[in-house]
Amino acid sequence: MKSAPFSVASKLVGDAAVIYPKGYLNNLSGESLVKECGIYIGKGITKIVVNFSETDLINSIGISLLLQIIEDLKNIKGTICCTNMSKFLRDTFEMLGLIQYMVVFSAESDALEYLNTGKR
């Protein structure tokens, strides 16, 4: 566990936003993530990729906030993809039975392609 200070970076790739949460995803940082996604949703973006490659740790509050984003996108018929999840992160979502409600890719490029073409 590196537990770097949490930060969120993002970029727009075509019509999809790619978000990079970094560090420990808890209540405070989860709020930042929700806010960052909200900014894109506010701009009419309905395709979001969350790249977890630099997320060290997530707690249950972070998970609930992630579910919030999934629901927000669902409400606007948008899509969210999760990528570059560590084994630990994947196992955690699996333990909770949440993985089936998420669209997961091992690489960011695979997610972007899926969002572009609709094919996995």
């Binding site: 420990y24 740790l57 249950s60 609930s64 579910l67």
Partner: protein, 551 residues
């Protein structure tokens, strides 16, 4: 009932040579006005009674000083019965000394009248007169003179018989409870011993609770006549030697690598050492290991002789079962909070009114048990609390006590306190990371442990409403097990209060929170939540399998 001749073999009575030597010479010192009486002080089980019995035996084997030993612990406190018992025992022990036949002292079934011919044949006519006088007081039902005659019998014997008498009064504080016909009807009968204690031919060696006797020697005619002798614990090496001796007597063999490290817990207390040795025999141990010692100890403090001993002490001071339970609660509270606080507040703990609570606190003070505070006593209280207050089964209680030491014995224990502040749980996660590295745990496995711990901590921070705003953590590591205890004050929490809905249903209902304990339960092998006084305690354990450890 202790009988002087039941003393352990002198060679097994360790590290008390100087005390024994001093007490043996006490009569000579008192005759020359260089010494007086001795109040033998020391924690319970430290060997005060045994020292008296050794002194009795040593004097019995010689000719110069007559030993008289009287145990108040088992005495009937009704004055008339006490007087008869005290007098009869003295006569028996005196005759046994003169004839050098210890059996005379032990044969309590034989009436005193049967001893008169033997006394007469020895020419001890003054003793026959004493017996007749005492009988006359009995016949006249003269309570006061019965007591005086009994208590002064050693003085009379010393004056008439020409040999000083060393009087050994074991648990002398019980004499404060002497009464005439009903409890509390005759105060200060104990002061009748003052005359006898002042006599130059009769040094007295007394034992008893320091709490009770402090008051006695301060307010009483005995002030200034009595010196204190403190019996300390056996040094570590002698404690092991004594334990080995007991094991040899009981024919218990030891594993070759047994270091007796666990014995340090007994703090050189001969009673505890003996009881633990006996427990190994009762539990039919062979090739004794350190783990066996812990197991036998768990039995001892919960159901064995040590538990029985302390229960008897409790019963002596507090007879009412409800009050005894309250006493247990108060003692456990005192142990956990490092002492007794303001009396008024303690009635909340005891569950009784302030007056009743005060009487229990007085009894606790009189027993002196908080002064004698030691790990064994504390474990006895824990065991008693689990059994009587929490209603746990004996096996469960034993296991709890054992687990405390098995963990500490074979592994390590780390404690940590964190504030209930933002990201404080990450400090805990870092701590468990280092513990995991020490245990060579696999990184992925370790991440999950961190997550479980974080969840319990944030649950405490979010929901407890604690004014203390602290979370207390304890990590107990063993080669193949990790136990984590998380404790916080504030609002109670129970696993039963959690409702487990299927994930789909939960999401459909828009419920996004409540994943924490689901994670904890998935990660850990066992999760238990207890309420201890005003604190919630979460106990999590994880067995470490080979695949989760780096080679």
């Amino acid at each position: 009932m202790p009988v002087p001749s039941n003393a352990i073999p002198a060679e097994d009575f360790l590290n008390r040579e100087s005390e024994l030597h001093y007490l043996k010479g006490l009569s000579a010192l008192k005759e020359r006005a260089l010494g007086g009486n001795v109040f033998l002080e020391g924690a319970r089980g430290m060997g005060k009674t045994e020292l008296l019995m050794q002194l009795h035996r040593a004097l019995f084997r010689e000719e110069d000083v007559v030993p008289f030993y009287y145990p108040f612990k088992t005495a009937n406190q009704k004055g008339g019965y006490f007087a008869k018992d005290y007098f009869t025992r003295f006569v028996r022990q005196y005759l046994a000394f003169v004839k050098k036949e210890s059996a005379i002292a032990e044969n309590v079934a034989e009436p005193l009248s049967c001893l008169v011919p033997a006394i007469a044949s020895l020419g001890l006519h003054w003793l026959t007169d004493c017996i007749e006088n005492f009988q006359a007081h009995l016949n006249h039902r003269d309570f006061y003179w019965q007591l005086i005659a009994a208590i002064s019998a050693p003085v009379t014997a010393a004056q008439k018989g020409g040999k000083p008498v060393t009087v050994m009064l074991d648990d002398f504080d019980a004499a404060e409870q002497l009464f005439e016909s009903s409890f509390g009807d005759a105060h200060a009968l104990i002061s009748l011993f003052g005359e006898s204690m002042q006599n130059r031919l009769c040094p007295h060696v007394v034992t008893g609770s320091a709490g009770a006797l402090d008051a006695l020697f301060t307010d009483h005619s005995l002030l200034g006549m009595t010196e204190r002798m403190r019996l300390g614990p056996l040094p570590e090496d002698l404690a092991v030697q004594l334990f080995r001796t007991h094991l040899a007597t009981l024919k218990i063999t030891c594993a070759p690598d047994l270091r007796f490290a666990f014995l340090a817990l007994l703090r050189g207390n001969p009673l505890y050492i003996r009881n633990l040795a006996k427990a190994t025999w009762k539990m039919e141990k062979k090739e004794l290991t350190e783990k066996d010692l812990v197991e036998c100890y768990g039995f001892e403090v919960s159901e064995g002789e040590t538990a029985f001993y302390w229960t008897s002490v409790f019963n002596r001071y507090v007879q009412n079962p409800t009050k005894r339970r309250a006493m247990v609660k108060l003692l456990k509270h005192a142990m956990e909070s490092g002492g007794m606080e303001e009396r008024g507040r303690l009635s909340i703990i005891s569950g009784l009114c302030e007056a009743e609570t005060a009487s229990i606190l007085d009894a606790i003070e009189a027993t002196g048990i908080l002064r004698d505070e030691n790990a064994v006593f504390q474990d006895f209280i824990r065991a008693l609390y689990m059994r009587e207050i929490e209603g746990r089964k004996p096996g469960d209680v034993r296991e709890k006590i054992e687990s405390k030491y098995l963990s500490a014995e074979e592994g390590s224990c780390f404690e940590l306190v964190i504030p209930m502040s933002s990201n404080a749980e990450l400090v805990v996660a870092k701590a468990v990371e280092q513990i995991g590295i020490n245990m060579n745990l696999d990184a992925d496995f370790l991440n999950h442990l961190q997550l479980a711990l974080i969840e319990v901590c944030i649950n405490a921070m979010e929901h407890s409403g604690s004014y203390e705003k602290k979370v207390f953590l304890k990590f107990i590591t063993q080669p193949n097990r990790l136990e984590i205890i998380v404790e916080n004050s504030g609002r109670p929490f129970s696993l039963d209060s959690l409702t487990e809905l299927p994930v789909g249903e939960k999401l459909q209902m828009g419920i996004k929170r409540g994943w924490g304990f689901k994670l904890v339960r998935s990660i850990m092998d066992s999760v238990k939540v207890e309420r201890v006084n005003d604190r919630t305690r979460v106990i999590m354990a994880k067995e470490i399998k080979d695949k989760e450890v780096h080679p």
